[in-house]
């Protein structure tokens, strides 16, 4: 479409191959972007449930999920609003571990993640299995702040960050794709930052 008269760009870092197209490095900042009131959830009341097309619905309390094998993610996160945060560390439990306990039925092909707030987001099952997704409660060795989804959030770092539901409460296994909150409101169903799948139709 041609270039914008007079625009040179100042923030470019051509060497950084970690930045997907159209993203910039937010550095130490971590913008807080949520569409609702921030909920304050006591860990004593917190639960996480895997249900839907599973052999055995499974629910963990805060203490129970902490007793599962710990898993860590080191890498980058990318928000659809064009910021990326590079070289971050989260810790929690792998979604693989949680699904192994519930045993998805062969017909399960998608998941709908949900939050204690009512927020939802949809993902292909293949995007949350094979070491690609976590439920995390630690950020850089500290408890995850409530503004960033604490006490625990979903982490699916290879997709835009709205898929990483804050204040996550469970996963429902489905045999079809069911649009979540932002996906119903104009955003892409999958959200791969490397393909710039930002909005419906991309």
């Amino acid at each position: 479409m041609g270039f914008t008269r007079g625009f040179q760009g100042r923030r470019r870092r051509p060497d950084d191959e970690r930045l997907p197209p159209g993203q910039y490095d937010t550095g130490a900042d971590w913008p807080v972007l949520t569409a609702e009131a921030t909920p304050h959830l006591a860990t004593a009341d917190w639960t996480f449930t895997v249900d839907g097309l599973v052999e055995q619905q499974a629910t963990w309390t805060w203490d129970e999920i902490h007793a599962l094998p710990r898993s860590t993610f080191d890498g980058d996160i990318h928000c659809v609003t064009t910021w990326s945060k590079l070289g971050v560390t989260f810790a929690g439990v792998s979604v693989d571990t949680l699904l192994a306990a519930a045993r998805p039925l062969p017909s399960a092909t998608y998941v709908l993640a949900r939050s204690h707030t009512g927020y939802t987001t949809n993902l292909p099952l293949a995007d949350v299995t094979g070491g690609k997704a976590w439920v995390v409660w630690d950020f850089e060795g500290q408890p995850l702040e409530v503004a960033h989804g604490g006490p625990a959030r979903l982490l699916v770092p290879h997709l835009y960050f709205w898929k990483s539901a804050k204040w996550v409460s469970g996963l429902k296994l489905l045999d079809h794709d069911e649009a979540g909150f932002w996906e119903r409101n104009g955003y892409h169903d999958r959200g791969d930052p490397w393909r710039e799948e930002r909005y419906q139709g991309d």
Partner: protein, 256 residues
Amino acid sequence: MTDQPSAPSVAAPPAPPSVAASPMPRTGGWQQATVVGIRPETANAKTFRLALTEPRPHLAGQHYVVRLTAPDGYRASRSYSIASPPDDSGQIELTIERLEDGEVSSFLHDDLMVGDRLEVRGPIGGWFVWDGQTPAILVGGGSGVVPLMAMLRLARRSERSELVRLVVSARSPGDLYYAAELPGPETTIVYTRAAPPSWPRPPGHLNALDLPSPLTPGATAYVCGSSGFADAATALLTDAGVAVDHIRVERFGPSG
């Protein structure tokens, strides 16, 4: 407004039926827009009026993405709320705060001129929108007033002002957007640092007494501002009896 990412990265309750029922205009692809007007709102905010080559209907509260491309192909894009109400002019207005470190906002403020072409995409967002038919409480801080202004303008234009109450928080009179247009029986202006002479309310942060009273039962609240402002305003609204699932929030931070 500011370089605000109108698209929250995560989280929100399901839409109440009243607004979910309104059809959301489809987001178009990238298109060229021509800058047909630029006017200052404050010392660091300007409104840019853009003529679209492919006009698309929008809802009050939606946003557009502006994308800048350098001669070597480098690109930077940011989301900006639409300040103009839905109309059939084929034009939209974006009010944009100049952030000191803002790669996009500083270019738009310092270099963009009437007649320039700009690549835009929208309208975007189906959550922070008002249908113009239902009672709404609008609470904005600083540049957070921009999407709420589209709602106020829609209400006034359609002679439904009784549906909306707008509370705007600004640091000082010089920081108030739309200063000539905004005052009216349905609006309250709160100054946090400095008020005009003889202003009835002493400067200070938004408090419970600044909210409309009584609050319309069942009204949807739209809160827009910095994360700190959004949290404070949301707390005031819930304390005043507004249900959490009737509060829609749009936060922005310095994202350049």
